[in-house]
Symmetry: none
Subunit: 227 residues, 2 copies
Amino acid sequence: MTAVTRRERVEQKERAILEAAAHAFVESGYDGARMADIAKRAGVAEGTVYLYFKTKTDLMRAFVADFWGDLTQRAEQAVADKGETFEALAALAAMHLQNLIERFDVVELTQSGRVRRGDTPGNREFMKAYVAVFDRIWRRGMDRGELIDTAIHWQARDIFFGSLEYAARTIRLHSDRTQGSVVDNLIETLKQRYAVLPDQKPSTQKSERLLQRLEAAVTRLEKTPNR
Amino acid sequence: MTAVTRRERVEQKERAILEAAAHAFVESGYDGARMADIAKRAGVAEGTVYLYFKTKTDLMRAFVADFWGDLTQRAEQAVADKGETFEALAALAAMHLQNLIERFDVVELTQSGRVRRGDTPGNREFMKAYVAVFDRIWRRGMDRGELIDTAIHWQARDIFFGSLEYAARTIRLHSDRTQGSVVDNLIETLKQRYAVLPDQKPSTQKSERLLQRLEAAVTRLEKTPNR
DNA sequence: CATTATTTACAAGTCAAGCTCATTTTGCGA
DNA sequence: TCGCAAAATGAGCTTGACTTGTAAATAATG
């Protein structure tokens, strides 16, 4: 672990501080976290922390940025092999909901993100890359004609992320409610609203096939002499 | 407005403090607000504030409770004369979105709500009465058969409030995006997913149920060896 | 290697803000 | 007018983020 160059040693220390900060923030929330504790846990004097991060807010920002970076990577992975639009959306939704539930504290940190007036107005920069995963799926769906051309991108996106966030809250509050059905419901909802040929053709085909089968069966039964 | 009884004077002072606090919180956010300023604005010594509200957190809680109480009243009013389910939902959505946009700071205060670990876990109690407005509409819609009977109440609710909140953020960020279309889109989405359709659908649903029944029966028959 | 320069680390100290408490003021009944 | 409890006060206390003067470690130079 012993680094050689100055640069490496500095980076190593920065990571140590960030890690300690992550621990503290998750453990106690933003306000609850003590800079003194973070310093101690990182094996560093309190003043040193301020050489690496100008303020506590900065430290949190770095932590949150890391977090969303991670999520983005995982999201891209989860979506990578999904071809059809709603399949990809379902995969993304499932992953997103999972993460929301598991790490809700961090997500809340992001959003409330120290809103001392005039303090870092654009705190949700981190989410941009994350949200872009959705955007890519959506745009591709439009290009392929799998989505109706009157769909308004950002409204669909707000429904997607908004309802998932609220669902995560609900599920956390009432542990009896399941996540699977939330994703199914959301995707079904989006499908009925935004999919081209929402359901009609397939179901019609299906019922026609079924009718044929029923007819054949009944015909057969009719041929069988009653006893 | 000089009060007479002791009780009245006390209540008047409490209101003055709350009002000053509201001003400070909206102006500067929770962290930015200074107890000293609040005291001064209420025309009271700093120590006095603590006779009425144990902590700063308490003060914010009272403020937020007031806020949601107000909203609830307005929501009930907005919905009162709407008969049909989706008409009522549209009215509620429009009002909610309007409030979210205008007073987003307060709403964010509610949610981030000082999450010092172990500090007042149920901070969103205030919203209960508010959310109940939605619940009433929904339940009535179910009773009247205007909503499909497979609808899961809380999931619909999460879509409703979740997407509105996200839409509010989006609209605040990009002032070019209009609120009217958001409400329309949301209601349309919910309708397509949850409404029992007036003309065709009921019979279709019915025949689909019938088909299922027939299919099951025939499957059973098919398995039975011919006699 | 010795010396100087620069970067990195430290911890004692400053400051601001929430909150406490000993003391004073107020208002009401007798 | 007196007594007394309720209400109010504001000078401190405490805590925690941040500063800063000083020292150690490392690199550059001759």
